[in-house]
């Protein structure tokens, strides 16, 4: 379909979550924004192939995901850069402890196999249905479900092994969100 005003606004409205997806995938803010830029250029160049009435965010996420995948194969080295760079993207600086927990989470997330990580992010953070996530990743719904489950188990194993009772379950999260720690 042609690039109408409303379509343009819809694309614009999807940019914040595209960035969040790109950063979650790549762990690197600069690279994430390059990915988003390239996604937008591709989308606009191929706007004719977008089916009116279909799920625009899912279409855009698919483009970004495929770009990331082909890019990732070329340079898998930069992952080590992730931590420092990611911290820079944070607007509000969480308290020290929360920050550490946060980096731990980020690091654990980066350790997941890519298939599992993207499935978990799409379903658990972007809020896509299993069906949409499956179409974004080009696989079966059951595959997405099992990837999400495996991702959760692996994160749990990496982060909370035997130690779940050491922290109040919500302490970290509250601190990260509200910065209310002392």
């Amino acid at each position: 379909m042609p690039l109408t005003d409303s379509l343009r606004n819809d694309i614009l409205a999807a940019v914040p979550s595209l960035r969040a997806f790109a950063i979650s995938l790549s762990g690197n803010a600069d690279r994430a924004d390059d990915l988003v830029q390239e996604t937008l250029l591709r989308a606009l160049a191929n706007i004719d192939s977008f089916q009116p009435g279909s799920n625009l965010p899912a279409w855009l996420f698919t483009i970004l995901r495929n770009l990331f995948r082909s890019d990732y194969r070329k340079r898998r080295r930069e992952v080590e850069d992730a931590e420092g760079n990611y911290a820079k993207t944070l607007k509000t600086q969480p308290s020290q402890n929360a920050h550490l927990e946060f980096e731990e989470f980020r690091t654990a997330l980066d350790k997941l196999p890519q298939d599992q990580r993207e499935a978990l992010i799409l379903v658990g953070a972007s809020g896509f249905s299993y069906e949409d996530a499956a179409s974004i990743c080009g696989c079966a719904v059951g595959t997405i479900k099992s990837r999400v489950n495996r991702a959760r188990s692996k994160l749990a194993a990496l982060l909370y092994v035997d130690g779940a009772e050491d922290f109040g379950p919500d302490e970290t999260v509250r601190a990260v969100i509200g910065g209310s720690g002392g």
Binding site: P16, S24, K91, L120, A125, S126, R152, A156, P169, V173
Partner: protein
């Protein structure tokens, strides 16, 4: 391991894998906290401008100006 799926959806008793409902929700919270922090940053100017530029009627974006359509510039620089 084979039972993880059903455990996750039943979410009553923690299995050997340790995926209690608490841990599940903790993972979910952290994931969303990380993600939403970026979402809240909104649309950076560079993307707003990019989309605007591409939309201008009849205006070929300046992105690739060097790339072509300048027949009479051939060999000048």
């Amino acid at each position: 391991m084979k039972d993880l799926k059903s455990q996750a959806s039943r979410s009553t008793t923690p299995g050997k894998g340790g995926l209690t409902p608490e841990i599940q929700s903790r993972i979910g919270h952290q994931l969303r906290a990380m993600y939403d922090d970026v979402v809240r940053q909104g649309v950076p100017d560079r993307f707003a401008e990019l989309i605007k530029k591409l939309d201008a009627p009849g205006a070929t974006p300046q992105l690739g100006d060097e790339g072509g359509s300048n027949d009479n510039n051939n060999g000048r620089d």
